[in-house]
């Protein structure tokens, strides 16, 4: 009942009669939902089976570039593109899973980090395929039934649909045999195996699922912005997504939504505030505030991570 109501309210958002600022609201809302999809995907590995994935942005990049190269210039129906992207993400999730399957927590974190750096390195250097540091520009909107999406509210509905799909999948999985097996692996992998859970299989499943979520989000991102560039997939993105699931409390869908609701607007506000500060600093001739202070909004993520781990390791919700 409440869920239906929330969905109805969300569906009505693009039609709030507030005039021009609606574009800003829609963009922020789209961004928020995009990060929710990403966080839900990362949560499958970090929250469900308890492995710290520091390279999630790699799948995001794979999704974005796959989508950009497939349908950036051609008229392939988006549904087909979307499935290809998801399968491609899945494939890389499994490929990355093969060497990391036997690793313990901190090794896993480092290898995943190395993986995403390698992906970005390849994107930057294989100019014949990805145009390297020039990036792919002018990506067309997703085309559906002969119509190409381009307006803000169309993208809003598309990501709302993807998010709803993601939440349904996660919710269904959470309370199923698979979800319980994953929770058992998170709590104690050895004990779970002793109880007859095939840990390798469930871990692989988690890697593949998580990767396909990331790729789907990346595909949307590329079409939404119309650009794919290696700089969009910086390590910080992985950390931002990680912060979202940590603030909300790892493992729960409502926690992730809460985390995104808290963190994404905060970073937007911080960016605006720091930009104003740096402009004021330049105009007032204060030299100790460097113009790079805008990028320092990530400082707050570091503080969040350390303090959350010390004070509330299970998230704000619990």
């Amino acid at each position: 009942m409440t869920r239906g109501l929330i969905l109805l309210v969300l569906l009505l958002i693009p039609w709030i009669p507030i005039g021009d600022p609606i574009h800003y609201v829609l963009r922020l809302a789209t961004m928020l939902m995009l990060y929710m999809v990403l966080a839900l995907g990362l949560n499958v590995v970090t929250g469900f089976i308890g492995y710290l994935d520091l390279g999630y942005v790699g799948f995001y990049a794979i999704g974005a570039y796959t989508s950009a190269l497939l349908s950036g210039y051609n008229d392939i129906p988006y549904l087909i593109v979307f499935f290809v992207v998801i399968l491609h993400g899945c494939l890389w999730g499994i490929l990355r899973g093969i060497p990391t399957l036997g690793l313990t927590g901190d090794y896993f974190a480092i290898v995943t980090f190395g993986f995403s750096e390698l992906i970005v390195l390849i994107i930057r250097n294989e100019v014949w395929l990805t145009r390297g540091p020039m990036g792919i520009t002018g990506i067309k909107g997703p085309s559906m039934f002969g119509y190409t999406l381009s307006r803000d509210w169309e993208f809003f509905y598309l990501i709302l649909f993807i998010l709803t799909l993601a939440i349904v999948i996660i919710k269904r999985m959470e309370n199923s045999r698979i979800g319980r097996a994953m929770a058992a692996i998170r709590d104690d992998e050895v004990a779970a195996e002793a109880c007859g859970i095939d840990a390798r299989r469930y871990k692989m499943l988690a890697f593949a699922l998580s990767a396909s979520f990331g790729a789907a989000a990346g595909s949307f991102y590329a079409h939404w912005l119309g650009v794919a560039h290696p700089d969009m997939f910086h390590f910080w993105e992985s950390i931002l997504i990680l912060c979202i699931i940590i603030i909300g409390g790892m493992g729960s869908v409502s926690g992730i939504i809460l985390g995104a609701l808290v963190l994404i607007p905060t970073t937007e506000l911080l960016r605006a505030a720091l930009l104003a500060l740096s402009q004021w600093g330049t105009s007032a001739g204060i030299t100790f505030i460097s113009p790079d202070i805008v990028n320092a909004r990530y400082l707050i993520f570091g503080i969040i991570l350390v303090l959350m781990m010390r004070l509330r390791p299970d998230g704000l919700k619990r």
């Binding site: 060497p99 690793l103 313990t104 927590g105 390698l118 400082l299 993520f301 570091g302």
Partner: protein
């Protein structure tokens, strides 16, 4: 193939080798810090790369702003970084020592991000370099020249300093009481503390020593490449970690060997295969080692711990 060609090729080879050894000794210095902390705490100190970056920045700041002589600035940076290493452990890791592994790991990453951005605020994203005139003039002169190969005193200095520090470290670990305590904790922390070893003090010492070596590497890199920037720690940190994994994490000789091999491999890879993928070589080596020989070259294979 005529003689000239052979000479050219061999001089290119030697050039890469000297570059690789210089780079390798720097990686080894950082890798030892990772491996020591992993030995006693079984935790990857993600902020270690940031200590390395801070060492470089502090020395740079002292030299360029306060006009401190280079070697004095070097020493001050080392002391500050060692103290900082102790603080880091006290603030971010000690309260979480009994928590789940994931929790401590996330706290470590949080510290690393915090420090990187702190440096970004203080010093800006622009690359900095040591003022040329304030460096010892010996650094820029050549120790010897053979054909096309120039070996600078700086390279010799980096290599010798690393070797000396490694021997000192070896002595501390093998022949002092603190070193013995470190080895005991690495074997079994609980039993060690029951035998009357002050766990906190030894762990603090480990962090101080690791940060000291990391800061040495940071300053040396800052001089060698003439570039210091806020995110230099994260790339170097990951590469050094790869070196520690290659040598077998937890083993100090392994970290030295791994660092040297990685440095040489990187120099040769950049010279002969592709300089664009220079940074990828470390990741590739790390992933291959983890697949085929997870214990590393000199590490002992242990039962999976968690």
């Amino acid at each position: 193939m005529n003689w000239q060609e052979v000479l050219d090729r061999s001089s290119l080879f030697l050039l890469q080798l000297t570059n690789g050894l210089t780079l390798g000794s720097i990686y080894a210095l950082i890798a030892v810090g990772y491996t020591m902390v992993y030995g006693v705490l079984e935790l990857i100190n993600f902020a270690h790369g940031e200590v390395y970056m801070m060492g470089a920045f502090i020395a740079y700041h002292l030299v360029s702003v306060y006009d401190v002589p280079f070697f004095a600035a070097f020493a001050i940076a080392l002391v500050i970084c060692s103290a900082f290493g102790i603080f880091l452990e006290y603030f971010a890791y000690r309260p979480l020592r009994d928590a789940r592994r994931l929790v401590a790991l996330i706290s470590a990453i949080g510290m690393s991000i915090f420090l990187q951005n702190l440096a970004l605020i203080i010093w800006g994203a622009q690359q900095k370099s040591f003022p040329y005139k304030k460096l010892p003039s010996l650094f820029s002169s050549m120790a010897f020249t053979l054909g096309d190969i120039n070996l600078s005193y700086l390279q010799v200095f980096i290599f010798l300093l690393s070797v000396v520090l490694m021997f000192v470290l070896h002595y501390i670990i093998r022949h002092t009481k603190t070193g013995m305590a470190m080895r005991a904790i690495a074997q079994d922390a609980k039993a060690a503390s029951l035998m009357g070893i002050n766990l906190n003090r030894v762990i603090s010492f480990t962090f101080a020593a690791g940060s000291f070596l990391g800061a040495v590497a940071g300053v040396l890199v800052g001089v060698y490449y003439n570039a210091i920037w806020p995110t230099m720690g994260y790339m170097a940190g990951i590469k050094a970690f790869a070196a520690a994994v290659l040598g077998g994490i937890g083993s100090v000789p392994g970290a030295i060997l791994g660092g040297t091999i990685l440095g040489v491999a990187e120099a040769f890879g950049a010279g002969y295969i592709s300089s664009a993928y220079r940074d990828g070589i470390a990741y590739a080596i790390m992933i291959l080692v983890l697949i085929f020989k997870p214990a590393g070259l000199l590490g002992k294979s242990v039962v999976q711990r968690r």
